[in-house]
């Protein structure tokens, strides 16, 4: 099976207190995520992206339709540990996902829950810490670390389960630019070098451009789905979803509006500069700007 996650006709409604019919969050959502891919899910607050993410490891269960992770149905009660072990999840606030007051004890938490033998836990903890570059901090207290470091510890805590897929729900929302970069670099490395399927939930379009595939959600529906270039070149659509586009696309779009016909897919600064050079008729000029 080459699908990591398959969402089939997903329906979901938050349980209502009065027992009356509550509003559907999802009404027939379909989505398929390839194994080993790096996918960003982009959307503004309330677009349903976090609710969708919680279906990927059976924290929420569908009211109708089904969600399959690596061939397992999330409604299968007997497989719940296997599902959660396979699809790890990292949340927004690193403080609220740590259970122990020593870094290595915290990372050992998941393998301990899984009943892994002691010697192997030690190995997994060390490996996970090295993967996120936090090995030197293994005996520190988490509350003395920076936000970016804490979030990397949270990621290591999930890696220690040896998952095949990691879902990160706005992992950088509470971090400063430095911490944000640390965490994104770590995430990208996991996807590119460790072959883990990564699903990054974010409302930050620059973060989304790092992914192989960008899924844009609005009003609890999938609005656009494709590579970053394909998605961001649909400027009007992105704006209707309450999202901006990267500055580079914004510039090219503004030039387009002014009557210059430029392709909109120059996403990075280099690509954008190249597009402009090509347009100005500087043949094959090497983009040397920073």
């Amino acid at each position: 099976m080459s699908e990591a996650i398959a969402v089939k006709n997903l329906q979901y409604a938050y349980p209502s207190r009065s027992g009356e019919d509550s509003a559907w969050v999802f009404d027939g959502l379909n989505l398929s995520i390839e194994q080993g891919s790096f996918v960003a899910v982009l959307g503004r607050n309330g677009s349903g992206k976090s609710t969708l993410a919680k279906h990927f490891n059976a924290i929420l269960l569908p009211s109708g339709g089904s969600v399959w992770v690596f061939g397992l149905d999330t409604t299968d009660e007997a497989q719940i540990l296997e599902i959660r072990r396979t699809v790890g999840m990292v949340f927004q606030n690193p403080d609220n996902q740590m259970v122990a007051n020593v870094v290595e004890e915290d990372i050992a938490f998941a393998p301990e829950n899984l009943g892994v033998p002691s010697a192997e836990i030690r190995q997994r903890v060390d490996d996970a810490l090295k993967t996120v570059g936090m090995y030197e901090y293994r005996t520190h207290a988490p509350h003395l670390l920076s936000g970016g470091q804490k979030q990397r510890i949270a990621i290591a805590g999930v890696i220690a389960m040896r998952p095949r897929c990691i879902v990160l729900d706005e992992p950088t929302a509470m971090l400063d630019p430095q911490g944000r970069k640390e965490v994104l670099d770590t995430i990208e490395r996991l996807a590119r070098e460790n072959g883990i399927t990564v699903i990054l939930i974010t409302h930050h379009m620059i973060e989304a451009t790092r992914a192989d595939r960008v899924i844009v959600m609005d009003e609890r529906r999938i609005l656009a789905d494709g590579t970053a270039k394909q998605v961001f070149s649909q400027v009007e659509l992105m704006r209707s979803a309450g999202l901006g586009v990267p500055n580079t696309t914004e510039l090219l779009y503004a030039l387009n509006q002014a009557g210059y016909h430029l392709p909109l897919d120059g996403l990075s600064v280099q690509e954008c500069a190249q597009t402009l050079r090509n347009f100005l008729g500087e043949p094959g000029g090497n983009a040397t700007c920073q």
């Binding site: 924290i59 959660r84 999840m89 259970v99 938490f109 829950n113 002691s118």
Partner: protein, 267 residues
């Protein structure tokens, strides 16, 4: 301002006392307390004191740090001393107005003060030389037999370690809330006791709300990391008794036996 509060202070080290299995240390403290309450005479007190002094010396904990722990108990210690001084019958030494100080009173007061001080210092030695995590692990392991009568041992130790983990986080949060309320003109420093207590409400309400939200998120995060109670759970760091632990436990047994024998012979 609240960051200075230390709970269950721990001084890291590598001495024999630090390296002992936490279970050994907990058992030793229990033995020590029992022996202390059995001790009745100068000889047995001398034995107990010798044990405490040796343990402190090996741990390299500064006696000053231990004495500092007695400070909050000063009033209780003085109160017991004074009470015993005047209210023990026997041969009067000094007498004025309605008060009589007896010889027995002086002896009783002296022993009681010594007992309280040694009790506190002995238990403090445990928390000073054992990390909170080792302490909860040790407690969980020692209480394991209670699982048979459905006592929630694992849940209890999990709650303890999560509480320890969140103390600094919640203290930080309290600092932030205090600052935020001060910025809106809240006054925590003036007024009588009642007013000041009332001024704490705008701190406690947001603190509780946020603590519940944190608990909710933590529960989700724990579930995502496959937490499903204590069943089938393993430990990264397993506790095991070493040769030193057996030696120390033997010393403890001898101490208790010695005090019981001394007590039996009325010494």
């Amino acid at each position: 301002m609240l960051k200075d509060i230390t709970l269950g202070q721990y001084f890291p080290g590598t001495t024999l006392v630090h390296r002992l299995d936490p279970r050994t240390k907990i058992l030793m403290v229990i033995v020590y307390i029992v022996a202390l309450f059995l001790a009745k005479s100068y000889v047995s007190y001398a034995l107990m004191l010798a044990f405490l002094v040796t343990a402190v010396a090996i741990s390299r904990i500064k006696p000053r740090a231990l004495l500092k722990g007695l400070k909050p108990l000063l009033i209780i210690i003085i109160f017991t001393a004074v009470l015993n001084l005047f209210y023990s019958g026997g041969e009067p030494l000094v007498s004025f107005w309605v008060f009589t100080i007896t010889k027995e009173g002086v002896i009783n007061a002296f022993f009681l003060v010594l007992r309280i001080m040694m009790l506190v210092m002995g238990t403090f030695l445990l928390t000073y030389t054992t990390s909170p995590i080792a302490l909860t692990d040790g407690l969980e392991s020692l209480l394991k037999p209670l699982k048979k009568i459905r006592f929630p041992v694992h849940e209890l130790s999990m709650m303890m370690s999560i509480a320890l983990r969140f103390i600094p986080t919640l203290i930080e949060e309290t600092d932030k809330i205090v600052a935020a309320q001060k910025a809106r003109g809240a006054d925590f420093e003036s007024g009588n006791l009642f007013r000041r207590a009332k001024a704490l409400v705008p701190i406690l309400v947001p603190l509780f709300v946020s603590a519940f939200r944190r608990a909710d998120e933590l529960a989700d995060a724990m579930e995502c990391r496959c937490y499903h109670g204590g069943q089938g759970r393993t430990k990264m760091k397993q506790l095991h008794y070493a040769r030193g632990d057996f030696a120390v436990l033997l010393v403890g047994a001898l101490l208790l036996a010695g005090v019981i024998v001394l007590c039996h012979f009325g010494l």
